[in-house]
Amino acid sequence: MLHYIVRRILLLLPVLLGLSMMVFAIGRLLPGDPVLLAAGPNATKEEVAALAVEFGLDKPVAVQYWNYLTGLLHGDWGRSLQSRGPVLEDLKVFLPATLELVLAAMLIAVVFGILLGLLAAVKRNGWIDYSVRLVSLASISMPRFFLGLLLQLVFAMWLGWASLGGRFPLIASPPPLVTGMLTIDSLLAGDLPSFLLALQYLALPAMAMSLSPLATITRMMRASTMEVLQQDYMLTARALGIPPGKLLRKYVLRNALTSTLTVIGLYFGWLLGGTVLVESVFDWPGIGLYATKAIMMQDFMPIMGVVLTIGTLFVTFNLLIDLLYGVINPKVRLG
C-alpha cells in the first residue's frame, strides 16, 4: 500500500513538470508584451527595460524556466508583473475561498446525489424516479452562471434571504485566519454566529456550483444501483431475509459507489478549474477570478501558479479516490 502511494506521488512529478513546461511555453509563445503592459503607457523605453530586468524577463526562455523551477524548490513561485507581489501570497488568499466553494458544492452534490440516485433506483419507474430524472437532466443542461443569476434573483432579490454576493458581511470581522475557509475557521474558533453567517453567504454559490455534479452523480448512482440490484448475490441476500435497510447500506451502496467515486474525482478537478463564472456572478474572491485577470494581462507567474496548484490538487484528489476504491470495495487491490 505504502509502496503504491509513494509510486503514485513519484509519478506526479513528471506530470507536473510536463504541465509546467507546457504552460510556460504557451505563455511565452503568445503574442503580446506583458512587460510593456505592466509598465504602463507613460513608461519610457528605459523604464520598460528596467522592469523586464527586474523580473528576469530579459533572459532566454530556457533560463527563465530553469530559474522558475529552482525558485519553486525554495518556495518562490515568482512575482506578479501587475501587482509586483509574490504569487504564493496571492494563492494563499484566493485558493482557500475557491476550495471552500468547491468542497461545499461537492458535499451537496455527493450527499444529495447518492441519496437521490439510490432512491430513484429503488423506486424505479415511480413518480420519484421520473421527477429525479427530469430534474437531473435539466440540471445538467443548465449553465452554472445562469443558475447563479436565477438563485440571486429568487433568494437575494425577491425573497431577500441571502446577499447578492461576497463571503461575509462587510462590516463584521471574519474569524481568525487559520485555513482561509471561513466556515471552517469560524468552527475552529468556536464561533457559531460567524459560522452561520459564512454559511449563508456560501449557500447560493455552492448550490449553483453543485447542480451539475449533483445531477451526474444522481444518474451514475441510479444506473449502478440498478445494476447491483439485479445481481445474483442480491437475490441471495433477499432470500436470506436480510432487512431492506441493511441490504441497501451494506450490499447496494458499497457496490454501487465504486463507479460514482470516479465521477466525483473527475468532477472535483472540473469544478476547481471552472469556478470562474460562479465566482464572477457572486463576487467570490477565488482563484478563478484571479487567474482570469492574470490571463487578461498575460501575467505569466500567477497563471503558472494557478495551473500548477490546480494540477497538483486534481492529481492528489484522484489519488485519494483511487485509495478509497480499496476501502470501499476490497476486491480492488492496490499495489
Partner: protein, 517 residues
C-alpha cells in the same frame, strides 16, 4: 474581542433585517462607514509604484500630497504645503509646510520627508514618476529647513502644481527601517506609511479594503469613521447594490445602469464631463493613412452624430483637447460632409477608394465595437472597406510597438491623470510616446515643439495661445478622428453629503470631507 462579538451580533441581526427588506448598511450601528462598490482591486499600496483609480483612491485617503485638487473646473489648493512661491523663470519652487501635518505614528511631516519621497519616486521610476521625471532635478530637491522644501526644475514646467496632488509623501523613518533590498517596495506594498486622514484596517485581496479614520487626523473633515472599498466586478451588481442601499457609492456604471437609476429617489446620479477622451487614432506612419488627404477625407466622412447616438451619456469632442483644458472655442473640427470628403479623397492616391483598411478594438468593449461599425458604415460612402478585428488588450498594446504592426485605426481612451492640457497633449501627440498605445505612431516635429513650448510657458495667456496653435496644427494634420467625451457615471445614496465632483480621477473617491447622515 468584545467589540467583535457585538459587531457580529449587529451583522447577524442585519442579515435578519435584510430579510425584512431593510438596507444592509444600517449594519454600521452608529459608526459612520461609507461603502463604495468598485470594480478594481488594490493589489499594491506603494504610492510610488501602484497606479490605477483604485490605487489612487487608496493613496489620496491614506497619504497626502503637497497640494490637493478639488472641484470642477479643478483647482489646486494647499494641503501639506500651506503656501509656496515660484521663481519668475519658473525653475524654482519653494513650499512652506503646514506644521500641523503628522504621520500616522505622530511624527511631523517634515521637509526632509518631502524630499525623501520625491527622490524615491525618481529613483524607482515607476507609478507616477513619469509626471516629474526629466522635470525635477533629483539633486535639486532640498530641505531648506524643517518646514521649507525647495525644488529646482531642469526646465520650466507649467503643469508642475497640477502633478503634485499625485506625488505622495511617505514617512522616511518607517521606510528606511523596512528598506530591505528593494527600497522598501516590499514593505510599502502591504503597509501604509502616510499622513492621510485614514489608515487601512483590513485588506482582503480581491474582496474588500477597509479604511479607518486615524485617531486624531491633522486636518478637519467630514464625519466618517471609516470606509469600505468593496470590489464588485459586474456593473449591474454595483447598480443593484446602490439601488438597494447595500453600498453608498457605485463608481463604474454604464449608461443603461444610469437610466435604470433615474427614478430612484434615494440615489443621486452624477453625469459629468471629465478629462477622458475617446479618439480613433489613424496610422500616420504606415499604409494608406500615411496620406494626409485620405485621413482628411475620413475625418469628413465619419458619422459623428452616429457615434454620439451610440455613446449614451456623452458629448462630441470639439478639438484634440477636452473642454476645460485650454480647448480653443474658435477651433473648427471636421464634421460629416460627404462632398468635402470626396474632394480630399480625389487628391489622394485612391480617388475612388477601393482600399481595405483594418480597425482593432478591445475584445468585449461593446462601445468600441459599435463605434467600429459606425466607421465601417461611414467608409462605405468612399468605397473603402473596413475589416474590424476584436483584439485582446495585451495584444493591442503589443501591436503598437512599430508602425508596421499598428492597425490603420486604433481606438484610444485617454484618461486625464492631472488637470492640465499638457497631460492629454503630451500623452496623445508627443512623438516620445511612440511605440506605446497612447500614441503609437504620430510624429510631427512642429507638434512636438509646440507641446514642449506649452509645458515650458508659465504665462497663462501665452500658454493659451500656444495650445490654440497646437490644436489648429493637429486639426489640419488629422492624426485622429476626434471622438467623444463620455461622461463620468457615478451614483451615490442621498445620505452621503458634501460630495464634490472633480473631473480628474473622479472615481478615486476622496473621503476627506464626506459625511454620512
Amino acid at each position: 474581542m468584545e467589540r467583535r462579538s457585538i459587531l457580529k451580533g449587529a451583522a447577524g441581526s442585519a442579515v435578519i433585517a435584510s430579510t425584512l427588506g431593510l438596507p444592509a448598511i444600517a449594519q454600521a450601528q452608529g459608526r459612520k462607514i461609507l461603502v463604495i462598490a468598485a470594480g478594481q482591486d488594490i493589489p499594491n499600496f506603494d504610492p510610488h509604484v501602484a497606479t490605477g483609480y483604485s490605487a489612487s483612491m487608496l493613496h489620496r485617503n491614506t497619504y497626502d500630497g503637497l497640494v490637493r485638487v478639488v472641484g470642477a473646473p479643478p483647482k489646486v489648493v494647499p494641503h501639506l504645503a500651506s503656501s509656496w512661491t515660484i521663481s519668475p523663470n519658473g525653475l524654482e519652487y519653494v513650499f512652506k509646510l503646514n506644521t500641523a501635518a503628522k504621520f500616522h505614528d505622530g511624527t511631523p511631516v517634515t521637509a526632509h520627508a518631502v524630499a525623501y519621497s520625491f527622490k524615491r519616486t525618481l529613483r524607482l521610476g515607476k507609478g507616477n514618476a513619469w509626471m516629474i521625471a526629466g522635470v525635477v532635478d533629483p539633486n535639486g530637491i532640498e530641505a531648506v529647513d524643517v518646514q521649507t522644501v525647495r525644488f529646482k526644475l531642469l526646465k520650466p514646467f507649467a503643469p508642475f502644481l497640477s502633478v503634485l496632488p499625485w506625488q505622495f509623501i511617505v514617512n522616511p523613518v518607517l521606510v528606511e527601517t523596512n528598506k530591505g533590498s528593494d527600497d522598501g517596495q516590499e514593505f510599502l506594498r502591504k503597509n501604509i506609511a502616510g499622513s492621510g486622514r485614514f489608515k487601512i484596517k483590513r485588506a482582503e485581496a480581491g474582496n474588500l479594503y477597509e479604511f479607518e479614520r486615524v485617531a486624531s487626523p491633522w486636518l478637519a473633515g467630514g464625519n466618517l469613521d471609516g470606509a469600505i472599498w468593496k470590489i464588485v466586478r459586474e456593473t449591474s451588481s454595483q447598480r443593484l447594490m446602490v439601488a438597494r442601499g447595500e453600498v453608498h457609492f457605485a463608481v463604474d456604471l454604464t449608461s443603461e445602469d444610469m437610466d435604470s437609476l433615474k427614478d430612484n429617489p434615494a440615489v443621486v446620479r452624477v453625469l459629468e464631463p471629465e478629462f477622458r477622451t475617446f479618439s480613433i487614432k489613424m496610422n500616420t506612419a504606415h499604409g494608406p493613412l500615411a496620406d494626409i488627404n485620405v485621413r482628411k477625407a475620413i475625418s469628413h466622412v465619419f458619422n459623428y452624430q452616429g457615434m454620439l447616438d451610440a455613446a449614451g451619456y456623452a458629448q462630441l469632442m470639439v478639438g484634440p483637447l477636452p473642454p476645460g483644458l485650454m480647448n480653443d472655442p474658435k477651433l473648427k473640427v471636421p464634421r460629416t460632409d460627404l462632398e468635402m470628403a470626396k474632394r480630399y479623397l480625389a487628391k489622394s492616391k485612391y480617388p475612388n477608394g477601393g482600399i481595405k483598411l483594418t480597425m482593432v478594438y478591445v475584445t468585449g468593449l461593446e462601445q468600441q465595437r459599435r463605434w467600429s461599425l459606425v466607421l465601417l458604415d461611414s467608409l462605405k460612402k468612399l468605397g473603402i472597406e473596413l475589416e474590424i478585428k476584436p483584439t485582446l488588450w495585451p495584444d493591442m498594446v503589443a501591436s503598437t510597438k512599430t508602425p508596421q504592426t499598428t492597425a490603420d485605426f486604433f481606438p484610444v481612451y485617454q484618461t486625464g491623470n492631472y488637470a492640465d492640457p499638457d497631460n492629454v497633449a503630451f500623452a496623445s501627440y508627443h512623438s516620445s510616446r511612440n511605440g506605446n498605445w497612447q500614441n503609437p505612431v504620430y510624429n510631427n516635429p512642429k507638434v512636438d515643439a509646440l507641446i514642449n513650448k506649452g509645458r515650458g510657458e508659465i504665462d497663462p495667456k501665452k500658454r493659451a495661445a500656444i495650445y490654440a496653435e497646437l490644436q489648429q496644427v493637429l486639426v489640419d494634420d488629422a492624426p485622429d478622428i476626434f471622438g467623444v467625451l463620455e461622461k463620468r457615471r457615478l451614483a451615490y445614496r442621498k445620505d452621503v453629503q458634501n460630495f464634490v465632483f472633480t473631473p480628474v480621477a473622479s472615481n478615486a473617491i476622496e473621503l476627506q470631507n464626506l459625511s454620512l447622515k
